[in-house]
Protein backbone atom coordinates (compact mmCIF):
# COMPACT_ATOMS: atom_id res chain seq x y z
CA UNK A 1 0.00 0.00 0.00
CA UNK A 2 1.15 3.55 -0.68
CA UNK A 3 -0.37 6.85 0.45
CA UNK A 4 -3.63 7.45 -1.38
CA UNK A 5 -4.44 3.77 -1.96
CA UNK A 6 -8.07 3.10 -1.10
CA UNK A 7 -8.33 0.39 1.57
CA UNK A 8 -12.07 0.32 2.21
CA UNK A 9 -15.22 1.99 1.04
CA UNK A 10 -17.98 2.49 3.60
CA UNK A 11 -18.30 2.36 7.36
CA UNK A 12 -15.27 1.09 9.26
CA UNK A 13 -13.01 2.31 12.02
CA UNK A 14 -9.84 4.02 10.90
CA UNK A 15 -6.69 2.56 12.47
CA UNK A 16 -3.04 3.56 12.28
CA UNK A 17 -1.74 5.21 9.14
CA UNK A 18 -5.12 5.65 7.49
CA UNK A 19 -7.45 8.54 6.86
CA UNK A 20 -11.03 8.99 5.74
CA UNK A 21 -12.07 11.07 2.76
CA UNK A 22 -15.38 11.11 0.87
CA UNK A 23 -16.60 7.89 2.41
CA UNK A 24 -13.41 5.99 1.65
CA UNK A 25 -10.52 5.01 3.90
CA UNK A 26 -7.06 5.44 2.37
CA UNK A 27 -3.48 4.81 3.45
CA UNK A 28 -1.23 7.64 4.62
CA UNK A 29 2.05 5.71 4.64
CA UNK A 30 3.68 2.92 2.68
CA UNK A 31 3.05 -0.37 4.43
CA UNK A 32 1.01 -3.54 4.74
CA UNK A 33 -2.74 -3.28 5.13
CA UNK A 34 -4.36 -5.09 8.01
CA UNK A 35 -8.07 -5.75 8.36
CA UNK A 36 -9.43 -6.74 11.75
CA UNK A 37 -12.25 -6.30 14.29
CA UNK A 38 -14.21 -3.67 12.38
CA UNK A 39 -11.09 -1.64 11.76
CA UNK A 40 -8.61 -1.17 8.94
CA UNK A 41 -5.05 -0.05 9.53
CA UNK A 42 -1.68 0.03 7.83
CA UNK A 43 1.48 -1.33 9.40
CA UNK A 44 3.93 1.30 8.26
CA UNK A 45 7.20 0.16 6.75
CA UNK A 46 8.65 3.63 7.09
CA UNK A 47 7.76 6.02 9.85
CA UNK A 48 9.63 8.39 12.09
CA UNK A 49 9.40 8.35 15.86
CA UNK A 50 6.09 9.61 17.24
CA UNK A 51 6.70 10.40 20.93
CA UNK A 52 4.06 9.23 23.39
CA UNK A 53 3.83 9.63 27.15
CA UNK A 54 5.29 6.51 28.74
CA UNK A 55 7.87 5.85 26.02
CA UNK A 56 11.37 4.83 27.08
CA UNK A 57 13.88 6.80 25.01
CA UNK A 58 17.63 7.12 24.60
CA UNK A 59 18.60 10.77 24.25
CA UNK A 60 21.62 13.04 24.00
CA UNK A 61 21.97 16.38 25.75
CA UNK A 62 22.44 19.10 23.15
CA UNK A 63 21.97 22.26 25.19
CA UNK A 64 21.73 23.55 28.74
CA UNK A 65 19.25 26.26 29.64
CA UNK A 66 18.22 27.75 32.94
CA UNK A 67 16.74 24.91 34.99
CA UNK A 68 16.50 22.48 32.12
CA UNK A 69 18.47 20.39 29.66
CA UNK A 70 17.51 20.21 25.99
CA UNK A 71 17.68 16.61 24.79
CA UNK A 72 17.73 15.24 21.26
CA UNK A 73 15.52 12.16 21.00
CA UNK A 74 15.14 12.01 17.20
CA UNK A 75 11.58 13.34 17.37
CA UNK A 76 9.87 16.22 15.51
CA UNK A 77 10.97 18.44 18.39
CA UNK A 78 13.70 18.31 21.01
CA UNK A 79 12.73 17.11 24.47
CA UNK A 80 13.13 18.91 27.78
CA UNK A 81 14.49 17.51 31.04
CA UNK A 82 13.75 19.77 33.99
CA UNK A 83 16.08 19.74 37.00
CA UNK A 84 13.50 18.34 39.45
CA UNK A 85 13.04 15.35 37.09
CA UNK A 86 16.76 14.68 37.14
CA UNK A 87 17.83 15.05 40.75
CA UNK A 88 14.56 14.74 42.68
CA UNK A 89 15.05 18.15 44.29
CA UNK A 90 13.71 21.57 43.35
CA UNK A 91 15.77 23.84 41.14
CA UNK A 92 18.17 26.24 42.85
CA UNK A 93 20.26 28.76 40.94
CA UNK A 94 23.48 27.54 42.49
CA UNK A 95 23.19 24.07 41.02
CA UNK A 96 26.02 23.42 38.56
CA UNK A 97 24.02 21.82 35.81
CA UNK A 98 26.93 20.65 33.62
CA UNK A 99 28.22 18.66 36.55
CA UNK A 100 25.00 16.70 36.71
CA UNK A 101 24.58 16.34 32.96
CA UNK A 102 26.76 17.95 30.34
CA UNK A 103 26.30 18.56 26.63
CA UNK A 104 27.12 15.39 24.71
CA UNK A 105 26.10 13.00 27.48
CA UNK A 106 23.67 10.20 26.84
CA UNK A 107 20.65 9.44 29.00
CA UNK A 108 18.01 6.73 29.33
CA UNK A 109 14.75 8.58 30.03
CA UNK A 110 10.99 8.21 30.12
CA UNK A 111 8.56 10.64 28.51
CA UNK A 112 6.36 11.72 31.38
CA UNK A 113 4.41 14.50 29.73
CA UNK A 114 3.94 16.50 26.55
CA UNK A 115 3.53 20.25 26.89
CA UNK A 116 1.11 22.38 24.90
CA UNK A 117 3.46 22.74 21.98
CA UNK A 118 3.96 18.95 21.87
CA UNK A 119 7.42 19.14 23.37
CA UNK A 120 8.17 15.86 25.16
CA UNK A 121 9.01 16.27 28.85
CA UNK A 122 11.42 13.70 30.23
CA UNK A 123 12.36 12.22 33.56
CA UNK A 124 15.42 10.19 34.51
CA UNK A 125 14.21 9.32 37.99
CA UNK A 126 13.32 5.68 38.25
CA UNK A 127 14.82 2.26 37.84
CA UNK A 128 17.02 1.81 34.81
CA UNK A 129 16.94 5.51 33.99
CA UNK A 130 19.72 8.05 34.17
CA UNK A 131 23.06 8.83 32.61
CA UNK A 132 24.53 6.13 30.36
CA UNK A 133 28.22 5.59 31.01
CA UNK A 134 29.00 2.37 29.13
CA UNK A 135 28.17 0.86 25.81
CA UNK A 136 27.21 2.27 22.43
CA UNK A 137 24.10 3.21 20.49
CA UNK A 138 22.85 1.69 17.26
CA UNK A 139 19.82 2.88 15.32
CA UNK A 140 16.78 1.08 13.96
CA UNK A 141 13.81 2.59 12.09
CA UNK A 142 11.26 3.33 14.87
CA UNK A 143 8.45 1.46 13.09
CA UNK A 144 10.57 -1.71 13.25
CA UNK A 145 11.15 -1.57 16.99
CA UNK A 146 8.18 -3.88 17.74
CA UNK A 147 9.83 -6.56 15.58
CA UNK A 148 13.03 -6.23 17.53
CA UNK A 149 11.14 -6.62 20.79
CA UNK A 150 8.99 -9.50 19.59
CA UNK A 151 5.93 -10.96 21.31
CA UNK A 152 6.36 -10.23 25.02
CA UNK A 153 10.04 -9.55 24.44
CA UNK A 154 10.70 -12.96 22.88
CA UNK A 155 12.96 -11.66 20.08
CA UNK A 156 15.15 -9.35 22.11
CA UNK A 157 15.44 -11.85 24.94
CA UNK A 158 16.61 -14.47 22.48
CA UNK A 159 19.28 -12.10 21.18
CA UNK A 160 20.39 -11.20 24.70
CA UNK A 161 20.69 -14.85 25.63
CA UNK A 162 22.55 -15.96 22.52
CA UNK A 163 25.01 -13.05 22.40
CA UNK A 164 25.56 -12.44 26.09
CA UNK A 165 25.02 -8.71 25.65
CA UNK A 166 22.73 -6.36 27.49
CA UNK A 167 20.29 -4.58 25.18
CA UNK A 168 18.05 -1.67 26.12
CA UNK A 169 15.59 -0.55 23.46
CA UNK A 170 14.52 3.07 23.12
CA UNK A 171 11.15 3.55 21.43
CA UNK A 172 12.79 6.36 19.50
CA UNK A 173 14.80 3.95 17.40
CA UNK A 174 17.98 4.12 19.48
CA UNK A 175 19.25 0.94 21.07
CA UNK A 176 21.88 0.72 23.78
CA UNK A 177 24.20 -2.26 23.59
CA UNK A 178 26.60 -3.31 26.31
CA UNK A 179 28.70 -6.41 25.83
CA UNK A 180 31.65 -8.06 27.52
CA UNK A 181 33.54 -8.65 24.30
CA UNK A 182 33.69 -6.68 21.09
CA UNK A 183 32.83 -9.82 19.16
CA UNK A 184 29.55 -10.24 21.01
CA UNK A 185 28.70 -6.60 20.43
CA UNK A 186 29.38 -6.90 16.69
CA UNK A 187 27.06 -9.91 16.56
CA UNK A 188 24.24 -7.86 18.04
CA UNK A 189 24.89 -5.13 15.47
CA UNK A 190 24.67 -7.68 12.66
CA UNK A 191 21.41 -9.11 13.96
CA UNK A 192 19.82 -5.68 14.30
CA UNK A 193 20.94 -4.77 10.78
CA UNK A 194 19.25 -7.95 9.57
CA UNK A 195 16.02 -7.00 11.32
CA UNK A 196 16.21 -3.53 9.75
CA UNK A 197 16.36 -5.09 6.29
CA UNK A 198 13.92 -7.96 6.73
CA UNK A 199 11.37 -6.71 9.29
CA UNK A 200 8.56 -6.82 6.76
CA UNK A 201 9.06 -10.45 5.73
CA UNK A 202 7.32 -13.20 7.68
CA UNK A 203 9.35 -15.90 9.36
CA UNK A 204 11.74 -13.35 10.85
CA UNK A 205 12.00 -15.05 14.22
CA UNK A 206 13.21 -18.30 12.68
CA UNK A 207 15.69 -16.57 10.43
CA UNK A 208 17.11 -14.58 13.35
CA UNK A 209 17.38 -17.76 15.38
CA UNK A 210 19.30 -19.46 12.56
CA UNK A 211 21.51 -16.42 12.14
CA UNK A 212 22.37 -16.30 15.84
CA UNK A 213 23.35 -19.97 15.70
CA UNK A 214 25.50 -19.27 12.66
CA UNK A 215 27.26 -16.36 14.39
CA UNK A 216 27.92 -18.47 17.45
CA UNK A 217 29.49 -21.17 15.28
CA UNK A 218 31.69 -18.66 13.52
CA UNK A 219 33.08 -17.30 16.76
CA UNK A 220 34.25 -20.71 17.92
Amino acid sequence: MVPGDVLYEGKIKTGDNTYRIQGKVSATRVGLVEYGKGMVSVIALEAGFNPLVGDLVVGEVIDIELGQWVVDIDAPSSAILNVPDAIDAPFRTDIAMPEILDIGETIMAKIVDMDRSRTPILSILGRGLGKVEEGFIIRLTPSKIPRLIGKKGSMVNMIIKETGCNIVIGQNGRILIQGKTREQEMNVVRVIEKIEREAHISGLTNRVQEYLKQLKEESK
Binding site: A44, P76, S77
Partner: protein, 242 residues
Protein backbone atom coordinates in the same frame (compact mmCIF):
# COMPACT_ATOMS: atom_id res chain seq x y z
CA UNK B 1 21.24 13.47 -32.31
CA UNK B 2 20.42 16.09 -34.98
CA UNK B 3 18.37 19.10 -34.03
CA UNK B 4 16.62 19.89 -37.23
CA UNK B 5 13.15 21.43 -37.32
CA UNK B 6 10.53 18.72 -37.33
CA UNK B 7 7.83 20.77 -39.02
CA UNK B 8 6.83 18.26 -41.63
CA UNK B 9 7.56 15.09 -39.70
CA UNK B 10 5.80 13.44 -36.78
CA UNK B 11 8.98 12.70 -34.78
CA UNK B 12 10.52 15.09 -32.30
CA UNK B 13 14.09 16.28 -31.93
CA UNK B 14 15.06 13.14 -30.08
CA UNK B 15 12.96 10.77 -32.18
CA UNK B 16 10.00 10.52 -29.82
CA UNK B 17 6.32 10.43 -30.73
CA UNK B 18 4.34 13.54 -29.73
CA UNK B 19 2.79 11.83 -26.70
CA UNK B 20 5.77 9.78 -25.68
CA UNK B 21 7.49 10.22 -22.31
CA UNK B 22 11.25 10.04 -22.01
CA UNK B 23 12.55 6.92 -20.25
CA UNK B 24 12.15 7.22 -16.46
CA UNK B 25 13.88 5.41 -13.67
CA UNK B 26 13.33 6.08 -9.94
CA UNK B 27 15.11 4.52 -6.99
CA UNK B 28 14.17 5.14 -3.35
CA UNK B 29 16.36 5.16 -0.27
CA UNK B 30 19.63 6.19 -1.94
CA UNK B 31 20.94 8.59 0.71
CA UNK B 32 21.92 6.90 4.00
CA UNK B 33 21.81 10.06 6.13
CA UNK B 34 18.48 11.45 4.93
CA UNK B 35 15.19 10.44 6.55
CA UNK B 36 13.90 9.71 3.06
CA UNK B 37 15.43 9.97 -0.40
CA UNK B 38 15.03 9.19 -4.06
CA UNK B 39 17.05 9.36 -7.27
CA UNK B 40 15.41 9.99 -10.63
CA UNK B 41 16.53 9.82 -14.24
CA UNK B 42 13.98 11.34 -16.61
CA UNK B 43 15.51 11.48 -20.07
CA UNK B 44 18.96 12.92 -19.41
CA UNK B 45 17.85 14.63 -16.20
CA UNK B 46 19.60 13.22 -13.13
CA UNK B 47 18.30 14.42 -9.80
CA UNK B 48 18.72 13.31 -6.22
CA UNK B 49 16.23 14.40 -3.53
CA UNK B 50 16.75 14.17 0.22
CA UNK B 51 14.03 14.71 2.85
CA UNK B 52 14.61 15.50 6.54
CA UNK B 53 11.86 15.72 9.11
CA UNK B 54 9.61 16.35 10.70
CA UNK B 55 12.29 17.96 12.79
CA UNK B 56 12.78 20.97 14.97
CA UNK B 57 12.56 24.23 13.09
CA UNK B 58 15.27 26.84 13.46
CA UNK B 59 14.85 29.74 13.98
CA UNK B 60 12.06 28.83 16.43
CA UNK B 61 10.27 32.14 16.01
CA UNK B 62 9.46 31.28 12.40
CA UNK B 63 7.84 27.97 13.33
CA UNK B 64 4.10 27.89 12.75
CA UNK B 65 1.97 27.09 15.81
CA UNK B 66 -0.54 24.77 14.14
CA UNK B 67 1.33 23.15 11.31
CA UNK B 68 4.68 21.96 10.05
CA UNK B 69 6.56 24.22 7.64
CA UNK B 70 7.46 22.60 4.35
CA UNK B 71 10.74 23.97 3.02
CA UNK B 72 11.82 23.06 -0.48
CA UNK B 73 15.13 23.83 -2.08
CA UNK B 74 15.87 23.32 -5.77
CA UNK B 75 19.59 23.61 -6.44
CA UNK B 76 21.62 22.98 -9.58
CA UNK B 77 25.16 21.65 -9.54
CA UNK B 78 27.64 23.79 -11.51
CA UNK B 79 28.28 20.89 -13.88
CA UNK B 80 24.60 20.19 -14.50
CA UNK B 81 24.36 22.50 -17.49
CA UNK B 82 26.44 23.75 -20.38
CA UNK B 83 28.18 26.18 -19.88
CA UNK B 84 29.00 25.73 -16.22
CA UNK B 85 26.86 27.80 -13.90
CA UNK B 86 27.68 29.34 -10.57
CA UNK B 87 26.64 27.32 -7.51
CA UNK B 88 24.89 30.37 -6.04
CA UNK B 89 21.08 30.20 -6.19
CA UNK B 90 19.46 32.17 -8.97
CA UNK B 91 16.03 33.77 -9.09
CA UNK B 92 14.81 30.86 -11.17
CA UNK B 93 16.04 28.44 -8.48
CA UNK B 94 14.07 30.37 -5.87
CA UNK B 95 10.93 30.37 -7.96
CA UNK B 96 11.11 26.65 -8.64
CA UNK B 97 11.73 26.00 -4.94
CA UNK B 98 8.47 27.80 -4.16
CA UNK B 99 6.60 26.02 -6.90
CA UNK B 100 7.75 22.65 -5.57
CA UNK B 101 6.35 23.58 -2.19
CA UNK B 102 2.97 24.50 -3.69
CA UNK B 103 2.90 21.22 -5.57
CA UNK B 104 3.67 19.04 -2.54
CA UNK B 105 1.90 20.81 0.35
CA UNK B 106 -1.66 19.69 -0.42
CA UNK B 107 -0.57 16.06 -0.24
CA UNK B 108 1.13 16.18 3.16
CA UNK B 109 -0.52 16.00 6.58
CA UNK B 110 1.41 19.06 7.78
CA UNK B 111 -1.06 19.78 10.56
CA UNK B 112 0.07 16.65 12.40
CA UNK B 113 3.46 18.19 13.22
CA UNK B 114 2.97 21.72 14.55
CA UNK B 115 6.04 23.90 14.98
CA UNK B 116 8.26 21.54 13.07
CA UNK B 117 9.98 21.64 9.68
CA UNK B 118 9.97 19.20 6.80
CA UNK B 119 12.91 19.89 4.50
CA UNK B 120 12.98 18.74 0.88
CA UNK B 121 16.29 19.25 -0.94
CA UNK B 122 16.47 18.61 -4.67
CA UNK B 123 19.99 18.47 -6.09
CA UNK B 124 20.11 18.65 -9.88
CA UNK B 125 23.15 16.74 -11.09
CA UNK B 126 22.30 16.94 -14.76
CA UNK B 127 19.59 19.07 -16.40
CA UNK B 128 17.88 18.48 -19.72
CA UNK B 129 14.49 20.18 -19.59
CA UNK B 130 11.70 19.40 -17.13
CA UNK B 131 13.82 19.44 -13.98
CA UNK B 132 11.01 20.93 -11.90
CA UNK B 133 8.61 18.13 -12.74
CA UNK B 134 11.30 15.50 -12.26
CA UNK B 135 12.19 17.02 -8.88
CA UNK B 136 8.58 16.84 -7.75
CA UNK B 137 8.34 13.19 -8.81
CA UNK B 138 11.46 12.28 -6.87
CA UNK B 139 10.49 14.46 -3.89
CA UNK B 140 7.20 12.56 -3.56
CA UNK B 141 8.99 9.23 -3.40
CA UNK B 142 11.49 10.66 -0.90
CA UNK B 143 8.69 11.97 1.34
CA UNK B 144 6.99 8.57 1.40
CA UNK B 145 10.38 6.93 2.01
CA UNK B 146 10.77 9.23 5.02
CA UNK B 147 7.53 7.92 6.47
CA UNK B 148 5.81 11.30 6.34
CA UNK B 149 2.03 10.78 6.24
CA UNK B 150 0.49 11.84 2.95
CA UNK B 151 -2.97 11.95 1.40
CA UNK B 152 -1.78 10.80 -2.00
CA UNK B 153 1.34 10.75 -4.15
CA UNK B 154 2.13 13.76 -6.34
CA UNK B 155 3.05 13.03 -9.94
CA UNK B 156 4.29 15.71 -12.29
CA UNK B 157 4.75 16.16 -16.01
CA UNK B 158 4.77 18.95 -18.58
CA UNK B 159 2.95 19.23 -21.89
CA UNK B 160 3.44 21.95 -24.48
CA UNK B 161 3.50 22.99 -28.08
CA UNK B 162 6.27 23.11 -30.64
CA UNK B 163 5.92 23.63 -34.40
CA UNK B 164 2.14 23.78 -33.90
CA UNK B 165 2.07 20.28 -32.42
CA UNK B 166 0.92 19.43 -28.90
CA UNK B 167 3.57 17.33 -27.16
CA UNK B 168 4.20 15.61 -23.85
CA UNK B 169 7.32 15.85 -21.62
CA UNK B 170 9.37 18.64 -23.15
CA UNK B 171 13.09 18.12 -23.44
CA UNK B 172 15.63 20.91 -23.18
CA UNK B 173 15.44 21.84 -26.87
CA UNK B 174 11.63 21.99 -26.79
CA UNK B 175 11.71 24.04 -23.58
CA UNK B 176 13.86 26.63 -25.29
CA UNK B 177 12.47 26.61 -28.84
CA UNK B 178 8.81 25.71 -28.27
CA UNK B 179 5.68 27.84 -28.35
CA UNK B 180 4.31 26.83 -24.95
CA UNK B 181 5.28 24.88 -21.85
CA UNK B 182 2.67 23.75 -19.31
CA UNK B 183 4.09 21.95 -16.24
CA UNK B 184 1.48 20.18 -14.13
CA UNK B 185 1.56 18.32 -10.80
CA UNK B 186 -1.30 16.02 -9.92
CA UNK B 187 -2.54 13.83 -7.06
CA UNK B 188 -3.68 10.75 -9.01
CA UNK B 189 -6.04 9.08 -6.51
CA UNK B 190 -7.67 12.31 -5.39
CA UNK B 191 -7.76 13.68 -8.93
CA UNK B 192 -6.51 17.14 -7.99
CA UNK B 193 -4.02 19.38 -9.74
CA UNK B 194 -1.52 20.91 -7.29
CA UNK B 195 0.76 22.73 -9.71
CA UNK B 196 -0.20 24.54 -12.87
CA UNK B 197 2.05 26.90 -14.73
CA UNK B 198 2.41 28.11 -18.26
CA UNK B 199 5.09 29.69 -20.36
CA UNK B 200 4.19 30.88 -23.86
CA UNK B 201 0.95 31.59 -25.70
CA UNK B 202 -1.99 29.21 -26.18
CA UNK B 203 -5.64 29.54 -27.12
CA UNK B 204 -7.94 28.12 -24.38
CA UNK B 205 -8.80 24.85 -26.15
CA UNK B 206 -5.14 24.02 -26.74
CA UNK B 207 -4.34 24.91 -23.16
CA UNK B 208 -6.96 22.40 -22.02
CA UNK B 209 -5.50 19.81 -24.33
CA UNK B 210 -2.09 20.39 -22.79
CA UNK B 211 -3.40 20.04 -19.25
CA UNK B 212 -5.24 16.82 -20.10
CA UNK B 213 -2.20 15.43 -21.83
CA UNK B 214 0.02 16.38 -18.92
CA UNK B 215 -2.35 14.60 -16.52
CA UNK B 216 -2.13 11.48 -18.69
CA UNK B 217 1.64 11.75 -18.37
CA UNK B 218 1.31 12.13 -14.61
CA UNK B 219 -0.71 8.92 -14.42
CA UNK B 220 2.00 7.06 -16.29
CA UNK B 221 4.67 8.47 -14.02
CA UNK B 222 2.59 7.44 -10.99
CA UNK B 223 3.18 3.81 -11.97
CA UNK B 224 6.94 4.37 -11.97
CA UNK B 225 6.76 5.97 -8.52
CA UNK B 226 4.79 2.98 -7.21
CA UNK B 227 7.42 0.65 -8.64
CA UNK B 228 10.18 2.55 -6.88
CA UNK B 229 8.42 2.42 -3.52
CA UNK B 230 7.57 -1.25 -3.71
CA UNK B 231 10.86 -2.37 -5.23
CA UNK B 232 12.88 -1.74 -2.10
CA UNK B 233 10.86 -4.33 -0.21
CA UNK B 234 10.52 -6.76 -3.08
CA UNK B 235 14.26 -7.09 -3.60
CA UNK B 236 14.89 -8.09 0.00
CA UNK B 237 11.98 -10.55 -0.05
CA UNK B 238 13.61 -12.25 -3.02
CA UNK B 239 16.97 -12.44 -1.28
CA UNK B 240 15.43 -13.97 1.80
CA UNK B 241 13.77 -16.72 -0.21
CA UNK B 242 17.13 -17.88 -1.55
Amino acid sequence: MSRRKVKNQSKRYDGREPKELRPIRIESGVLPNADGSAYIEMGRNKIVVGVFGPREMHPKRLAMPNTATLRCRYHMAPFSVDPRRSPAPSRRDNEISMVMRYALEPAIFLERYPRSAIDVYAEILEADGGTRTASINAATVALVDAGIPMRDLVSSCAAGKIDDKIILDLGDYEDKEGQADVPVAYMPKLGKVTLLQMDGVLPPDEFEQCVSLAIEGCNQIYQVQLEALKKKYGVVAEEVKE
